[in-house]
Symmetry: C2
Subunit: 241 residues, 2 copies
């Protein structure tokens, strides 16, 4: 870990904002977005980026929903939920932060820095969210919207061509295989409604704790719905870990 940390090139907040393509009116907000709690604790003063992260997380969720709502007018809600994980999940945000070199501008405590904190996924994803929150507070929704499109616009357009994205069952199988070396199991739990408008309720499970349910007008559709729900759960569990 210490090794990977050495490879992160240090940069000033000003260099980072140039890479973001946004010049802060209030430099304090830019700096606040870069303060990891380990730095706040070590220096014993000021704030860290956790409140901006709370705001930026919600902002990214909204801007993403707005873009895919308009771009993917034909996709059902379940597919949109799966798309979200590809763009604004912790892993994706950390990768975006790496592309921008955010790690080099983070303000970390000494121990966090030495143990590879500049390359740690959670630190990078949090900082990416905090930076977006800071742009919003500094420049309003239009500024945040512009930065968002510059950073994530291509990723959202590329979703159109990603075959996994319309296939939550395939994506779930892939992820469960990789993480748990097993297959998700589907089970039809209930079939209700009149013959011309049946509703299927399907459960999917990996183990006792990792399971979800879905509904749909066919078994296949209910399975896709359940798979999307479980993908989201796995994604959240990863982010909370």
């Amino acid at each position: 870990m210490a090794d990977s940390s050495k490879k992160v090139i240090r940069k000033s907040p000003e260099e980072l904002q140039a890479d973001l393509g946004y010049v802060f009116r209030n430099r304090n907000l830019l700096v606040e977005a870069l303060v990891h709690r380990s730095y706040r604790k070590e220096t014993g003063t000021g704030v860290d980026n956790q409140r901006l992260e709370f705001l930026g997380d919600a902002l990214l969720g909204f801007l993403f929903a707005d873009r895919v709502y308009n771009l993917h007018a034909e996709k059902p809600e379940g597919a949109l939920t799966v798309l979200r994980a590809a763009v604004v999940s912790g892993v994706s945000l950390a990768n975006k932060a790496r592309q921008l070199g955010v790690g080099g501008a983070l303000l970390l405590g000494n121990g966090e820095d030495l143990s590879g904190g500049r390359n740690r996924e959670s630190n990078l994803a949090d900082a990416m969210e905090s930076l977006m929150g800071a742009v919003y507070i500094d420049g309003g929704i239009e500024a945040a919207s512009e930065v968002f499109d510059r950073l994530f616009g291509k990723d959202i357009l590329a979703l159109e061509d990603d075959p996994w994205m319309d296939n939550p069952k395939g994506q779930l199988q892939n992820i469960v295989q990789k993480l748990f070396q097993r297959e998700p199991k589907y089970e039809t739990l209930e079939e209700t409604g009149p013959p011309h408008s049946r509703v299927f309720r399907v459960g999917v499970r990996v183990d006792d704790c990792l399971r979800a349910e879905g509904t749909g007008s066919s078994k296949q559709q209910a399975q896709c719905d359940a798979a999307a729900a479980l993908l989201l759960k796995i994604e959240r569990d990863k982010e909370e870990a």
Copy 2:
């Protein structure tokens, strides 16, 4: 259930928009926000409100985060997360929908209507989200922002006075007692960092599946952080159920 449904007074989309305090330019969006999937299936045409719900959910999350970020400048992120559940969770949104009489304007399939669908929490919360999404598409962020403040402004201000909100441990204990008739158990998992800047990692659990972790610079703080994480998990599980 059929009984409670009878009590819901029917109203037209136009009556509902008057109660929302927003007049749609595009009436189709207002109607789309009121179409439950059971109605779409029964009539076999058009769209239901699930895509607007996806958008409205993200929009509400963002508007809420924006308001509490500004109003509760002194609160840490964990407390903000707890606050969110009090205003934009499924239960809270369904209650808001009941105040507005949204149930009476829903377009439901026959079976859904007869089985109490106009008073069903998930239908009402979904419609509330869809309506906010529809206002946003129809009138932009300013219009959505105005409607949001009219509907939720008082609730957000009232959070200031709610003693539970700053007390995630107490709130968790309350909820776990009610739902599971037991107490959440805390356990300190790790203590790291130099003496002047210790970091505590604490786990909290109700059972094998329902558990979370938190960190903080004191045991008490780490427990609050863990309690907030578990409250959020319980809230999400309820919404997905």
